[in-house]
Symmetry: C2
Subunit: 123 residues, 2 copies
Amino acid sequence: MKNVSDKVMMVKQGITNLCYGFFSTLANPTRLAIIETLSERPMSVTEIVESIGQEQSMVSHNLRPLVQCNFVQVRREGKHRIYTLNQETIEPLLETVQNHFEKYCGNGVNCPHRDWSETSSME
Amino acid sequence: MKNVSDKVMMVKQGITNLCYGFFSTLANPTRLAIIETLSERPMSVTEIVESIGQEQSMVSHNLRPLVQCNFVQVRREGKHRIYTLNQETIEPLLETVQNHFEKYCGNGVNCPHRDWSETSSME
DNA sequence: TCTTCATATGAAGAATGTTTCATTCAAATA
DNA sequence: TATTTGAATGAAACATTCTTCATATGAAGA
């Protein structure tokens, strides 16, 4: 890195590209389900498979981008690979989402992906 | 809404679907560029078009999900439509992304979408 | 009302992303 | 080392999302 102003420029200019990778990785139901189940506790692939009810191959495929983005970490443990959630990033992220949800989408009226809004119209 | 435990269940179960809409809307370079430029000041469509250098039609198409998700708001002003960023959600969100970036992706090594990592390997 | 400027919309082709199936790899244990 | 178990990988079929082009809408001014 040449100097500070280069770094500033990089960060400024890079926000769009940076965020694109970040959010693309999160914009997938299987990966979100993995995140959700790992928020309970670290798990092996087999445990994740059982927990979210998807094929092993699919879970593996979706774990890769999560690891590459450092949303989860892996360690080997005998025959198993244990996946752990990066709470430090995920927690504040989900808190922001939930705040937004409660404030702006409370009754599910104006959201583009409507699946979840049906869940919330149970009053 | 029936009671508190129903609400808890809804929030708990709904996180995956909720986040999916949220993150899908953000997982797009054009929409991120719109967000980035609107972080400067509110703008009309024409101004956004000039600022990010994309076709008017494309900007319009991409503004819709941003509005529906309440990431931006619109008001009419004479002939124009002025789009304003919802700072309340976007600011903490980008802060989390940037923290993550600095901590885990500082040298761009392990990220799945590599476009931006080239920008950062300029040392 | 006719025209113009600003923006939105629809639809089709192009580009990306996801899912599945078959196969491979790697560690443990017999 | 052969076998078994746990997990990753590759490729093709399938699905979703983007981009573009043409057209429509709607407000303001002539």
